[in-house]
Each structure stands twice: as structure tokens, then as C-alpha cells.
């Protein structure tokens, strides 16, 4: 075996004692193979790969096991020997590519650093070789990009640079740790295809670490499923996803949004999906909404004349990639931003009467609420869950928080014993519940959900989506569901609009848009989303196409 990890254990010393992050993990990889390590946060999938690279943080150490790379035991190597190996034999691509690059060093120089470190270039040849490395990852105009700083490049471009650094010295093993998390789906596809092609053409082995079953199924020859620091199942992706042995794998597959599944189907065991309320009178009308930032030469149109209606009890999906104007649109509806033109009507009365700066004291403020993408960053870290939920009750309603907080917590399924905890003492799913309870506190009629599940693991996402569906059935509230993922949006939405470059390119019922998209952009969005494996297995037509 080219890479053989046997019985690997990694532990971290923390203030509360030793934490075993990885417990007896084994996997192996042959030359030219791609191994997928799949798992949710805290499963130890990244830590295992850091252990292979021997770049664990200071508090972590390899507590046991062997890592054999091409016959050499990596755990027995000195730090100096290991540094020689890194970048030359084994290299790594990370998530969040912009942060993974030195912000104040030209990208060309960062590539040169690696080339010169491993004696692949001299002072005189470094520049040409760095440009060559940029060209290899298909960066257009590499001569000009050589002088760029990371902040001047898009996320996808930054990831190409990170890949160029990783591949500069022709390593034999590449470890990609969630390489496309945070990138748009279309960019994700381009980056993944590029990685797959480059590793294949150079005969490299690779490890893909991901939480996305679809991605793993599409790009890997072998899959290892990890949970709580241990491997629960391993095997060929097709067989593994068609017939998962372990309950956890089954739950993961089930929780992944896929064509044909209802929101209740994501749960283990499947639950009946909550009833969808019948849409009533128009609640929110948006007419010809425009937002222009900057002036003169630096003018940029973020939202370019969009119109839509949300009825009472209806859910509208707003789908698009980063920079399409969906966040600007929701900020204008929330009255955090003043539009440049157009109208926003609530119950037929213009919301834009009150300028954004004064809207917090408008009596209609409580009718609109928002659930944010990052539950951690959007809750005051010094507020307990109780204080976070009570805050809008005090500010936006005449009710008393006592009693109402508990009622809301019960509504969102947050155990009352957790109410006095601080955000850092809560799990991701619990924080999401706090965020939803807080948004419901003022009894809103329209809830703007801004990628409410994007930061969550799939199994938690399934639970939160079901919670949102239940709340809608119970309270009759309308949702504007903003997301980049059509598969997720479809589960909750009656209608969907697709935005691109500030314009609506497609509008229709969720099913129709998914089944027969009329705009090529919607098509490309759908195609770029890696097909969840259960869908391939469950739908004969798709299975045939995937052959």
C-alpha cells in the first residue's frame, strides 16, 4: 500500500483534560487512488489528515498507531525530515482558500517560496516556474496574476493558487481538506474537476475530506465514513451508498437533500412532512427594486429591478450564487438598507416610507424578522440563550419575557435547561434553535431565512428544515428562504426565483424549476450540484446516466 494508516489515535490536551479526537482509525490508499473521508464536524476527519502531515497544533499529538507512506513510518520521522517531505511528497489543499494564503505576499512569491524551499527552482528560474504553476491550474493571464495579492482574487481563484502551491513540487500524495467549502456550486465543480484531472494526469494519489456525500461519491474510488473519531464504515462508494451497513451512514444518506424526497423523508426514521399552509392574500410585494452602490466610475448595480410577491403562509425561495444580489435584496426587505429605486409593500402599504435608519422604531418592525446563516456569530456571546430570546420581546412587543421565552423555547424544541447557557456552551443545532426562537419572539408575519442551514451538518440541517416546516404549519408565517442550494430550497418552498447579477433569471414553482429549468444558468446550477448518492441509487434513470 502507498499510504497505510493503522490504528491511528490522536489526542489533544485541553484545560478539561485529554480529549481523544481520533481513536484507532485505519485506512489505506493505493497509488493513483482517491480516498474520500466523509463525516460531520467533530468526526476527526481533518485531524486524521493533519496527523498524516504531522501538522497538528501544539496541543495535539499522535497517541498511537502507525502511518506508513511508501514504506516509511511517518510517525518515527524527525521534524526536519518531515519538513523535507511536506510539499515535496505530500501536500495539502485547505478550505477557506483566501485565509489559507498569506494576505500580504504576492501569490507568485508564495509559489516561489515552495519551489525554492524544495530546490525546484533557483532565484533566476523561480518566476518562470511560478508562472508555469499558475498556468497549470488554468489561471488566465498567469503573468499578471503572479503579482496579485490574495484579496484581489476571487475565492475560486485563491483556491487555484492554493492548489498551485500544493502541486508546485509534484508531490505524490495530495490531501484536500474540504477544498470547496465556502465556494459557489459552479465554482466547486470547476475546482473539483481541476483537482481530479491534475491528480489523475500526474498519477497522484489523493485524499478528499468532505462532509458532502455527493461530492465524495462523485470523485472518490474508496470511501471511509467517520463518526466521533472512529471509522464506522468503509468501502466502494457505489456499494456503500446503495447498501449502507451502519446506522450512521444510513442516517447521513437519508439526511442529504435529494430529488423526490420530502422534508420529512430526511429524518431517521422518516416522519410525515408537515402540511403546507395554503397561500392567502399577498403579504409582501416587491416592485422593480433596485440598489446601486457607489457613484460614477465605481458604480455597481447590486439589484437591478426585481419584482416578486410573497403571500400569507407562502414560502418563496431566493436562489443564487455569491454576488447575485440576494443578500442585498433581503437587507432591503428587512429595511437595513434603503433601496435606490422601486417599492416594497407590506399589506399594500409601502415600507420605504420609513427610512432604514429609523425603521427600528417603526411599528411594523416586529412583523419582519430574520434568521441568520451563522448562528454563532449572530448571537451576542455575552447573552445567555434566555437573554437572546428575551431581547426582541422587550424591544419589539408589549409582552413580558417571563413565560414567553419558555413558550418560544418549547416551540423550537430547545430544552428549557439550556436556556441559561451561553452560545459557546451550545451545539450548532441548539444555536440555530436559539436563532429561530429569537426571530419568532416578535410574532413576525414574514421570516427571512438567510442560508439558515449553510453552516450546519446535514443531519442537523434535516432537523432544522423540519422544524421550520412545522413552525410554518403551526404559525402560518411566510418565509423568504435565501439559499445557494436549489435542493435545499425545494424542500420548503412553494415558489422559487433564481437571481443572477442582480436580475431574476427564472421564476416558477419549485418542482417546475427543478424539473425543467428554462434558463441555462439554472440548468448549470443544478448540474453543478453533486448528485446525492441515495438519489442515484433510488432513481433508475439517474443511475443509468451515472454509469
Amino acid at each position: 500500500m502507498f499510504l497505510d494508516v493503522q490504528d491511528l489515535s490522536v489526542s489533544f490536551s485541553t484545560r478539561r483534560g485529554t480529549v481523544d479526537a481520533v481513536r484507532g482509525v485505519s485506512f489505506s490508499l493505493a497509488k493513483g487512488e482517491t480516498l474520500g473521508i466523509v463525516g460531520e464536524s467533530g468526526s476527526g476527519k481533518s485531524v486524521s489528515s493533519y496527523a498524516v502531515m504531522r501538522i497538528l497544533e501544539r496541543s495535539g499529538r499522535i497517541a498511537g498507531g502507525r502511518i506508513t507512506f511508501d514504506g516509511i513510518d511517518l510517525t518515527a520521522m524527525s521534524d526536519r525530515e518531515m519538513r523535507e517531505l511536506r510539499g515535496r511528497e505530500i501536500s495539502m489543499v485547505f478550505q477557506n482558500p483566501r485565509a489559507a494564503l498569506n494576505p500580504i505576499r504576492k501569490v507568485g512569491h508564495q509559489i516561489e517560496d515552495v519551489l525554492r524551499r524544495h530546490n525546484r527552482a533557483t532565484r533566476s528560474t523561480a518566476k518562470a516556474k511560478a508562472i508555469e504553476a499558475l498556468r497549470a491550474v488554468r489561471i488566465a493571464d498567469p503573468e499578471a496574476r503572479y503579482d496579485a495579492y490574495p484579496f484581489e482574487l476571487s475565492g475560486g481563484m485563491c483556491q487555484r493558487v492554493v492548489i498551485a502551491i500544493a502541486l508546485a513540487c509534484d508531490p505524490r500524495l495530495l490531501i484536500a481538506d474540504e477544498p470547496t467549502t465556502g465556494l459557489d456550486v459552479t465554482t466547486q465543480k470547476v475546482v473539483m474537476d481541476l483537482l481530479a484531472e491534475l491528480t489523475k494526469s500526474r498519477g497522484m494519489s489523493s485524499i478528499l475530506i468532505t462532509h458532502d456525500l455527493g461530492l465524495a461519491a462523485e470523485y472518490c474510488d474508496k470511501i471511509v465514513v467517520m463518526k466521533d473519531g472512529a471509522v464506522v464504515e468503509a468501502g466502494d462508494p457505489k456499494a456503500l451508498f446503495a447498501d449502507p451497513r451502519h446506522a450512521y451512514t444510513r442516517r447521513l444518506i437519508r439526511a442529504t437533500p435529494r430529488p423526490g424526497a420530502e422534508v420529512g423523508d430526511l429524518l431517521e426514521p422518516p416522519a410525515p412532512s408537515p402540511v403546507r399552509p395554503v397561500p392567502g392574500a399577498p403579504l409582501l410585494q416587491v416592485r422593480n427594486l433596485r440598489k446601486v452602490f457607489g457613484r460614477g466610475a465605481s458604480e455597481s448595480v447590486a439589484v437591478d429591478g426585481i419584482s416578486f410577491v410573497i403571500r400569507e403562509g407562502e414560502t418563496l425561495g431566493l436562489v443564487g450564487e455569491s454576488g447575485c444580489g440576494k443578500s442585498t435584496t433581503s437587507a432591503m426587505i428587512m429595511r437595513l438598507l434603503d433601496p435606490t429605486g422601486g417599492e416594497i409593500l407590506l399589506d399594500g402599504r409601502p415600507l420605504t416610507d420609513t427610512p432604514a435608519a429609523k425603521f427600528s422604531r417603526d411599528p411594523r418592525r416586529g412583523s419582519l424578522q430574520m434568521v441568520f446563516q451563522d448562528a454563532t456569530d449572530s448571537i451576542n456571546p455575552r447573552f445567555t440563550a434566555r437573554q437572546a430570546i428575551a431581547d426582541p420581546i422587550r424591544r419589539l412587543t408589549d409582552e413580558r419575557p417571563a413565560g414567553r421565552v419558555e413558550e418560544l423555547a418549547a416551540q423550537v424544541g430547545l430544552p428549557l435547561t439550556l436556556l441559561d447557557r451561553f452560545p459557546h456552551q451550545l451545539s450548532g443545532g441548539q444555536k440555530a434553535r436559539v436563532g429561530i426562537a429569537r426571530a419568532l419572539a416578535s410574532r413576525p408575519r414574514l421570516l427571512i431565512l438567510d442560508e439558515p442551514t449553510a453552516a450546519l451538518d446535514v443531519s442537523i440541517q434535516a432537523i432544522v428544515l423540519n422544524l421550520l416546516a412545522e413552525l410554518r404549519a403551526k404559525l402560518g408565517v411566510s418565509y423568504l428562504f435565501v439559499s445557494h442550494d436549489l435542493h435545499v430550497v425545494r424542500l420548503l418552498c412553494d415558489r422559487v426565483i433564481v437571481m443572477r447579477e442582480g436580475r431574476v433569471v427564472e421564476e416558477g414553482t419549485a418542482e417546475a424549476v427543478m424539473r425543467a429549468p428554462s434558463d441555462p444558468y439554472t440548468r448549470s446550477l443544478l448540474d453543478a450540484t453533486p448528485m446525492p448518492p441515495a438519489a442515484i441509487a433510488a432513481t433508475p434513470a439517474l443511475a443509468k446516466a451515472a454509469e
Binding site: 502531515m53 510539499g87 495539502m92 485547505f94 489559507a100 494576505p103 500580504i104 495579492y149 500544493a166
Partner: protein, 339 residues
């Protein structure tokens, strides 16, 4: 003209309004000081008439805008007026004393950086080790001991007990002659003159006061260097650099420290400014003929031309210092070059 030169020029232009503001504020502030300079100048035996006469010759009977105009006119030709107590032109006194203060401050700052930065970096790289604890101890001592106290202790130990240091009486022992003035910094001037003996004499006078000041400024610098380095070392780009196999030296100094420089430079600016304030005490302890002691003496006797000149000189120094820091920032961090 390259984009960097352009940006440096632009930042320099941006400093001009600040300088104009300084001139206006220093003018108004000194007019608002209690006491009547005319009455003071006329002396205790003066009559109403003589005070009025003096006020007229000093131009103080005119309206504030007219006075300001005269003040600016004088300022343009470099005239800050005469000191009331010594009768000397303020400009001359300041230009004579400023180099003394700057020599002391800059030496102390260099000394402080030379110790604090490596110490902060080492403490961050070996977090939790003995060097980290040593760093913490030195930082605590540095901030908790006032300069006049450390100054006196140093004089007591190194001059009185050990006799290693010369007597703490100014910039140069009386056995030496002041070197011909070029930069105003005695050590450099003496070296330029080829007079190694005098240079050594000036340097030995400088050691104790500079150490006193450096001990005081060490603390914030070392602490900021450590914190900024810790943050940089735990960043994603350092992880990338490590994963690419870059050597520890390149990772720590090339990647982490360059990024950690930014907050350190900001702290350096702040340290420099409160150092000029702390100077006053150190100059007193070591009889250093700097502008700090000059300003204190002037304040005590309400010598308003001198005070005004001092405030203006300090303010200009601050503006220039901030300009220098802005420019360094621009050169280090490409992100600030936008717009």
C-alpha cells in the same frame, strides 16, 4: 511615478490639514491659558499704563484674528517669538534642545525594539515555556515601575555602587567638548568628526537614561509582539506554509512576523508618543538638556511663547510620526493601498 510613490505623496498631502489644525489649536490654547503675559513681562512694579504699553508692543491688544494673522506670518519665517524668562528666541532654544530629546528617545526606542521584538516572538513561538514566563515577568516589571524610580535605581547601582556609569549630569561630561554640530546627535556627530573618544563619552552618558526609558516602553511592545505573533502563528496561511514544508525560520519570520508587524508598528507609534511625555521625568533625573525639561520650566513661569513653541513642536512631531507610520503601513500591507 510608481503607485507606491503616489500613495506616499497622497498620504503626505493628507497630513497638511492636520498641521494647519495644530497651528490653530496651539494658538487658541495658549490664549486661553490663565494669567496675563503683559502683566508678567512688565514686572511687579508696573503701572496700568506700562502694562498697556507692553501689551501694545506685544500685539496683545489687537483682536484674536489679527493676532493669529501675525502669529502665522511670524511662523512662516520661522519666528516663534522670544522666551519671556530667558529672552532667547524660542526657535533657537528648541532647535538646540530637540536633538538632545530625540537622541535619547530614539536610542531608547531602538534598544527597546531590539529586546522586545525578539522576546515577543520567542515567547509566542515557545508559548508556555520559560522564555514566555520570563517575557511576562519583564513586561509586568516594565509597566509597574515608574521611570523616575527605575532611573534613580539605575543611577544608584551603576553610578554610586558600581561606578560603571559616568555621573548623570547631561549629555557630555565637562572634560569633553561638544562635537561640531551636523545632526545634533552627539554620538553620531562625534563619529562623523572622527572623535571616537567623545563619541564613547556621549554614548556612556546616554546608556542609563536610554535604558530607563527602554524598560518602560519594552512592556507594550513585547506584549503586542507576542499577541500578534500568536495570532499569526495560528492562522490558516501559516498552516499552509507549514504544509508546504517551508522551514521554521521562513514560517516564523517571513510569514508570521510580517503579518504581525502591522499591529506592532501601530503600537510603536503610540509608544513613541507617550515616550516623549515620559521624557520629562527622565530628563529631570539625568539633567538631560532636552525639550521636556525646557517645557516644564517654561510652564512654571507662564512663559507662554515657549510653551506655545513647545506644544507646536510636539504636535508637528506627532503628525510627522503618524505620517511615517501610515506610510510604513502602506508599504507593508497591500490591502491599505486600495482607494
Amino acid at each position: 511615478m510608481g503607485p507606491r510613490t503616489k500613495l506616499v505623496l497622497y498620504r503626505t498631502l493628507q497630513a497638511l490639514p492636520a498641521l494647519v489644525g495644530v497651528v490653530i489649536v496651539s494658538f487658541i490654547l495658549t490664549r486661553m491659558l490663565p494669567g496675563d503675559p503683559a502683566a508678567y513681562f512688565a514686572g511687579p512694579a508696573a503701572t496700568e499704563a506700562s502694562i498697556a504699553e507692553i501689551r501694545a508692543t506685544m500685539g496683545l491688544d489687537r483682536s484674536l484674528p489679527v493676532q493669529f494673522l501675525h502669529y502665522v506670518q511670524d511662523l512662516v519665517v520661522g519666528d516663534l517669538g522670544n522666551s519671556l524668562s530667558t529672552g532667547q528666541p524660542v526657535v533657537e532654544e528648541l532647535t538646540r534642545r530637540l536633538p538632545a530629546s530625540l537622541e535619547l528617545t530614539l536610542t531608547a526606542l531602538l534598544l527597546s525594539c531590539a529586546i522586545a521584538l525578539p522576546l515577543g516572538i520567542a515567547a509566542a513561538v515557545h508559548q508556555g515555556s520559560w522564555i514566555d514566563h520570563a517575557c511576562r515577568g519583564l513586561v509586568t516589571a516594565g509597566v509597574s515601575l515608574p521611570t523616575f524610580f527605575t532611573g534613580i535605581v539605575l543611577v544608584y547601582v551603576f553610578y554610586y555602587l558600581l561606578g560603571w556609569a559616568p555621573s548623570p549630569l547631561g549629555r557630555l561630561d565637562f572634560v569633553y567638548l561638544s562635537p561640531p554640530e551636523v545632526t545634533g546627535f552627539y554620538v553620531i556627530d562625534a563619529l562623523l568628526d572622527g572623535d571616537v573618544e567623545t563619541a564613547r563619552g556621549a554614548l556612556s552618558q546616554l546608556v542609563l537614561p536610554a535604558t530607563t526609558l527602554a524598560l518602560f516602553t519594552l512592556a507594550p511592545l513585547a506584549r503586542m509582539a507576542r499577541a500578534a505573533m500568536l495570532q499569526a502563528l495560528s492562522s490558516d496561511y501559516v498552516r499552509t506554509a507549514r504544509a508546504a514544508g517551508l522551514g521554521e525560520g521562513q514560517v516564523v519570520l517571513g510569514y508570521a512576523f510580517q503579518n504581525a508587524m502591522l499591529p506592532v508598528v501601530t503600537t510603536l507609534g503610540m509608544v513613541f508618543s507617550f515616550m516623549l511625555g515620559a521624557n520629562v521625568l527622565v530628563e529631570k533625573v539625568f539633567s538631560w538638556p532636552g525639550i521636556g525639561s525646557y517645557a516644564v520650566e517654561a510652564l512654571v513661569v507662564s512663559d507662554y511663547a515657549a510653551v506655545q513653541g513647545f506644544v507646536l513642536a510636539m504636535a508637528i512631531l506627532f503628525v510627522l510620526l503618524n505620517l511615517a507610520i501610515d506610510i510604513i503601513y502602506t508599504l507593508v500591507d497591500p490591502r491599505t493601498r486600495e482607494g
